[in-house]
Amino acid sequence: MSVRALWVFSHERGDGGGGGGAGGTVCFSRRFPTVERRAKALAGALYVAVPEDGAVLQPLLTELGLSDGDKAFVLSRDDCARPQRSPALELRVQGRDRGVLWPVLALVQGGLILACLVLVEAPPEPRPPLPSLASVSQGLSLLAGLQAFLCGTGAKPDGEALASKLALLPSVLLQICPLGTPLDAPQAGSVAAPGPSGSQKQPAWKPGPHRGRAVASVSLSETVRSMQYGKPSRQDLWDVFGTVNCKCEVEGVLPNVMVTLTLPPNGSPLQDILVHPCVTSLDSSLLMASSVPVPPILGSYQLKEEENQLRVTATLKLHESVRNSFEYCEAHLPFFNRGHVNNVDVKVSCGQLEVSREKSLLVWVLGQKFPKSREVTLNGTVNFSELSSGPRDPLCTGLTAYIKLYFRVPDLTLSGCCVDQHSVQVYSSAKPRITTSRELVSSEYYIWNSAGEAPISSALMVL
């Protein structure tokens, strides 16, 4: 259950300048020699040593399909018979330390590649199945923690913040993984010094004792995804998923907090609940949804070819059960493979229309509210410059096109799930202030052109 080596590489995609070169640098690396000693003993004659950092990068890039960006086909990278579906990579190291390193786990985010080689605690041949190796999930967990630590929630870490985080890494590892067997994943926040010990054991996952005003806040966040086709032959799809976060800043070693989630009566249960390890008990029989949630906004979109232009018609309708109060609501209409938007003659019944010619994108800003009728329309024509430039997309060719919605509705959940402020019980000496909040946000919310073809987004509707 240990890690042999850990790396952080930075990598420039594609236009690496030199073209085909290494295209990356080592930002951080750490080896664990005592684990390496065990690896050597376990593998016997089949042992392959961890090579120096320079020899790891190139095979890793090849394995991730990131090497030789300028070449269309490279056998070692693109061979169709090489499986590329496991989370564990096999690195073919060349040069002095040649051999095959397995299993290497890797994570790519922004320009960073995080990778580790984990210990195989089994005879190396025949190669044991991945799920039989305890180190694998430990490695994945360590990398995920490292990712959160280095990159935070943002997609791309900026240079300075990253450099300071990298500088902290050795001391973080000294605490959580000094000799290759991790005790914990790196924590994004700072870890407070432990409190004075009492008679009760303190949980190791708790970031230190709380002093000051007691506060317990419960927030529900739901995300709605949808694919709407506007065709009788294709069923529209939508789903909702969400998280309940409970943050308790309460005194005491192990204060108990009980949160009651309520859903209006009769209906289908919430599915596939995942529970944080600090939740001691979960009574899921209570979790019943009232009605099958509806997509909050139903849309229709028609895009037709007319001589030298496109005719655009779109309607969006806010469902009656949804609160008409958005933080923001925008509809994006991108056009691909047609050159730049030239002339836009489009009217909207509500909100404003912004045109980005460079991006060939129409942004329909609906603002905070739909009108009383809860229905808004857009229609008009768009034509394009004959230039071959402009955004391209291999999926949206011909009349395959979509509207993508971006919105956030505060104080709403689509499932009807909610937490009553008075139902939160905290068993602690001081009475805490309790706050609750809810929100609904959209993600991958598409309305496809009903006059064109649309890609299948889920097989469930086909079968």
């Binding site: 259950m1 065990r38 950092d53 044991p128 199945p129 000294l174 010990s197 190791a204 995942l274 999926l395």
Partner: protein, 929 residues
């Protein structure tokens, strides 16, 4: 001696850790270790620098301490430093504990015989005694954490070392209430597991033994170091030895129960580790029922943490139906399926869960060979949520495709709705590639097609459509030729039935030969010819159309006038394949016409020659002889035939003869030729210099001529490396190639050796080195050669060390120089070195003991070529080494009362560690310097 500037340490440490071999080309491990330890002892160095200085021990202890003795010495030093560091320097103290652990474990110094190891273990054990920081205060908190982890790692490396301390460790674990109880729990559980494992390997009743072990409160069990435990069998097939207990062991049961009860207080990673150890404990003790885990299952199966769910899966595979009912199993697999597509989990985690589904340990497995197989419970209905879509990332898409392929392969054969969906997914990918999708998408498409075919190649309804769609795709984007050929090759390797690939090749051939010539540009033609070349390898495809097409291209396009050698050889590949084609007789005339046309009209002489040669073969040889000449592969016996055919292999290089084979083991080695000090100087001036000119000025002037005395020649015997295969008894045209491992030398040119025979004297190889910095180095050598059966081989030789003394040259002065002049030069150089600013040059002293009589012999055997002057009566000598490009090491050696004193002067103080090492190797006894 000048000390390294403190501010340069971060750079030096990072260059060491990123590439130790590169770093050590400029210094020795020995001297680096000395420097690091020296700095660590220095009170003026900041704590953060010292923490940094310890990283080499954390990462590469065996490079710094190559031998146990050095490891032991280093551990002693580090431990002494630890004792002197103030308590407030917390990070440094923690880092020191980790460094000492790494050094001791990696140099195999953990033993009761090694005093420092015993002392260090006692220190660790003492450190963890202070539970809840009652005695020493909170500043020891992290030190205890580190000490626990060091002990845990040592126990992992030497299982059983703590097996006599279980009760003591248990009490510590119970007392601790700060979050550190986690580290104590893990340490205790590991020790418990190892102790039980030791018991399980003993014979006989174990009831009392178990009691005794649990109540253990003694010293370290050093015998665990001497007889290491065999590893715990991880796979389900391995037999686990069991502790035979006759009675219900209440004590152990309550220990395990308590550990489980408190496990939720641990971080997920540690919890998973703990569970894993407890699974092994319960598996090894018969009296413990797996049902002990039951109370944890609901919590574990509902978890978001990958490590915990994984631990549960390992539990399932260890205990199967003695812990999981059929219902539990059903629930578990459903859970895995939903986790494999849960929107809140990362891609890596979901891929892992799909892997878990394919290796799910069923209660009633149909086969248990450890290979991928689909659990019976995974029905098409259950798996439908895992169907791939174009919105997935590539890895997920491919993983889902192969999982679902397995599902539908085992499902009802009459219902191919599911397979139909997978096929429509391929078509969706096809459209993306057709519309200039990214390279990644293209590769994913071909991988998907390959996967689909390996499962459903028998379903002609789909494979026919696939043939059609791939040839359509090719007609639009012929640059996909390499991908298409790769797909065909791999499919032929993986499937016994080549039908599909033949049909695809036929379709592609038809498509190409029917293309209108006006649309043909030279680039597209290159791809088409590649495809036709592949088509011509297939005996089942008739080739008439290909030939007509080629002839018409040659006649009707500008290929003959504008095509280069490469294009021509692609055409010839087709011709060559056709010469071997079984239906050659049907295309005989067309092929002859084509070859004749090429030899008369193609714009490249080499191509013309080849075409003529093929033409001659075609028209003069019978079919049997023709195939005899052209057959590829190692089964052809005669060398001549093979070389003939290899002539024709063209750029495709498919022939065995042109392929360079890699030897499996080492075949050759280079061994140093001794006593060849003589030929080392490459250049000597004849001019004696002007009368009256200062010797030093003259000497220095010599270097203004370029390349003066800049090279060193090393001599080696090229010999066989031990007993090698008889194939290699006679080697010809050996080309030795040398790669540098650092930047201290100029590139070494290749060396040719005509031949090497087993029973003849080994040839001498002269390697010319031109130093930039005359440091010790290592050369990587490889060789290409031909064996007498005509095959070419490539082999790696053992690395060749270049020692410091290898680069020594005698003083580069004119041959005729008198003794007096040489001495004068020596004195001038000596005084100039001592005068110059410190840092630029150095003098040092090295002493060793030797008997009175031995010094002259020692001088004679080691320094004779470099001797400047000697006064044997006084036992005083002057020696000078010249090191290209322009460095000097001057020695005055004198036998003082009880020891030989070597005074050293040099114009490059970086040499000192090397000089030291060299003199140590020369001196007969341990020096006292």
């Amino acid at each position: 001696m000048a000390s390294t500037n403190a501010s340069s340490w971060p750079r030096r440490i990072s260059s060491f850790t990123s590439s130790p071999s590169q770093f050590l080309s400029g210094t020795t491990a020995d001297s680096f270790l000395d420097q690091v330890l020296h700095e660590l002892r220095d009170d003026r160095i900041s704590e953060s620098t010292k923490v940094l200085l310890l990283t080499p021990f954390l990462e590469h202890p065996t490079i710094l301490c190559p031998f146990p003795a050095v490891g032991e010495e280093t551990a002693v030093e580090l431990l002494a430093i630890f004792c002197q560091v103030p308590h407030k320097s917390l990070q440094l103290r923690c880092q020191l504990l980790v460094a000492i652990t790494s050094v001791l474990v990696c140099t195999s110094c953990v033993s009761s015989e090694v005093e420092v190891a015993v002392g260090f273990l006692d220190l660790l054990y003492q450190t963890i005694q202070d539970t809840n920081d009652h005695k020493n205060g909170q500043q020891f908190y992290y030190l205890r954490l580190t000490a626990c982890d060091c002990l845990r790692e040592i126990e992992t490396c030497y299982p059983g070392l703590l097996s006599q301390k279980l009760e003591a460790l248990y009490l510590l674990k119970q007392q601790e209430t700060t979050p550190l109880h986690q580290a104590y729990s893990l340490l205790y559980t590991l020790a418990l597991k190892n102790a039980i494992r030791l018991l399980s390997l003993q014979k006989g009743g174990a009831d009392d033994d178990l009691k005794r072990v649990l109540a253990g409160n003694e010293g370290f069990a050093w015998k665990a170091v001497e007889t290491p435990l065999p590893p715990y069998p991880v796979s389900s097939t391995g037999q686990i030895s069991v502790v035979q207990t006759s009675t219900d062991n209440k004590e152990l049961k309550s220990i395990v129960s308590l550990l489980l009860e408190e496990s939720y207080l641990l971080t997920p990673l540690s919890q998973a580790t703990l569970l894993r150890e407890l699974i092994e404990v319960v598996a090894m003790v018969q009296a413990l029922s797996p049902a002990i885990f039951k109370s944890q299952l609901v919590r574990l199966i509902g978890t978001v943490e990958i490590t915990l769910l994984h631990a549960t899966l390992l539990m399932k595979s260890t205990f199967t139906d003695s812990l999981f009912t059929t219902e539990d199993e059903n629930f578990f697999i459903k859970r895995l399926v939903s986790m494999a597509q849960h929107p809140l989990l990362s891609v890596q985690q979901k891929l892992f869960y799909m892997d878990c589904i394919l290796h799910f340990p069923e209660n009633r497995p149909i086969s248990s060979n450890g290979e991928e197989s689909l659990p019976v419970l995974v029905t098409p209905h259950l798996a439908a949520s895992l169907l791939p879509t174009v919105f997935n990332d590539s890895r997920t898409m491919l993983c889902r495709l192969s999982l679902l392929s397995l599902v539908y392969l085992e499902a009802d054969e009459n219902d191919d709705k599911g397979v139909g969906y997978l096929f429509s997914h391929l078509m969706a990918l096809h459209r993306i590639v057709e519309n200039h999708g990214t390279r990644e998408m293209t590769v994913t498409y071909f991988k998907s097609v390959f996967t689909f075919l390996t499962y459903f190649y028998h379903n002609e309804k789909f494979t026919d459509d696939l043939t059609k769609s791939i040839s359509e795709l090719y007609s639009k984007h012929c640059y996909l030729a390499p991908n298409v050929i790769n797909l065909i090759d791999r499919i032929q390797e993986h499937l016994e039935d080549p039908k599909w690939s033949i049909r695809l090749l036929q379709a592609l051939q038809k498509l190409i030969v029917e293309l209108p010539l006006v649309q043909m540009n030279i680039q597209n033609l290159g791809w088409h010819l590649k495809i036709l070349g592949r088509v011509s390898q297939e005996s089942q495809v008739s080739q008439g159309k290909t030939l007509c097409f080629l002839l018409s291209v040659l006649i009707n396009t500008s290929l003959c006038t504008t095509g280069d050698w490469k294009m021509g050889s692609v055409v010839l590949v087709v011709c060559r394949n056709l010469l071997q084609h079984p239906s050659l007789h049907r295309v005989f005339t067309e092929l002859a016409d084509l070859l004749q046309y090429i030899m008369q009209h193609y714009n490249d002489v080499d191509i013309q020659d080849h075409a003529r040669f093929y033409y001659t073969l075609l028209t003069n040889l019978s079919r049997e002889k023709l195939s005899g000449v052209l057959t590829k592969g190692p089964n052809v016996e005669q060398t001549k035939v093979r070389s003939l055919s290899s002539l024709m292999a063209e750029s495709e290089g498919l022939s065995n003869c042109l392929t360079v084979q890699e030897t499996t083991g080492t075949v050759l080695k280079l061994t140093k030729v001794h006593n060849t000090n003589v030929h080392r100087v490459s250049q000597q001036t004849d001019s004696e210099g002007h009368e009256g000119e200062d010797v030093l000025t003259f000497y220095r002037k010599q270097f203004s001529s370029p390349g003066f005395s800049s090279k060193v020649i090393l001599e080696y015997h090229l010999t066989y490396a031990g007993d090698v295969d008889v194939t290699f008894d006679k080697l010809f045209s050996i080309c030795l190639h040398f790669d540098l491992t650092d930047s201290n030398y100029e590139q070494v040119s290749d060396i040719s050796v005509p031949c090497l025979f087993r029973n003849r004297k080994p040839p001498v190889v002269r390697v010319t080195l031109q130093p930039r910095q005359p440091y010790p180095s290592t050369l990587c050598a490889s060789a290409m050669f031909t064996t007498d059966d005509g095959l070419s081989w490539h082999t790696q030789l053992e690395d060749i060390p270049v020692c410091f003394s290898d680069v020594f040259l005698p003083l580069p002065v004119p041959v005729g120089w008198s003794q007096e002049k040489r001495e004068k030069l020596f004195d001038h150089l000596w005084s100039s070195m001592c005068e110059e600013e410190p840092g630029q040059s150095a003098t040092s002293l090295f002493c060793f003991e030797i008997g009175n009589q031995e010094l002259p012999a020692l001088i004679e055997s080691n320094f004779s070529a470099y001797l400047i002057s000697q006064e044997p009566e006084k036992q005083s000598y002057k020696v000078m080494f010249f090191l290209p490009p322009q460095f000097h090491v001057l020695l005055t050696i004198a036998n003082a009362e009880d020891a030989v004193q070597v005074r050293i002067a040099t114009d490059n103080w970086d040499f000192l560690p090397f000089i030291n090492t060299y003199l140590k190797s020369v001196a007969p006894q341990t020096p006292r310097s």
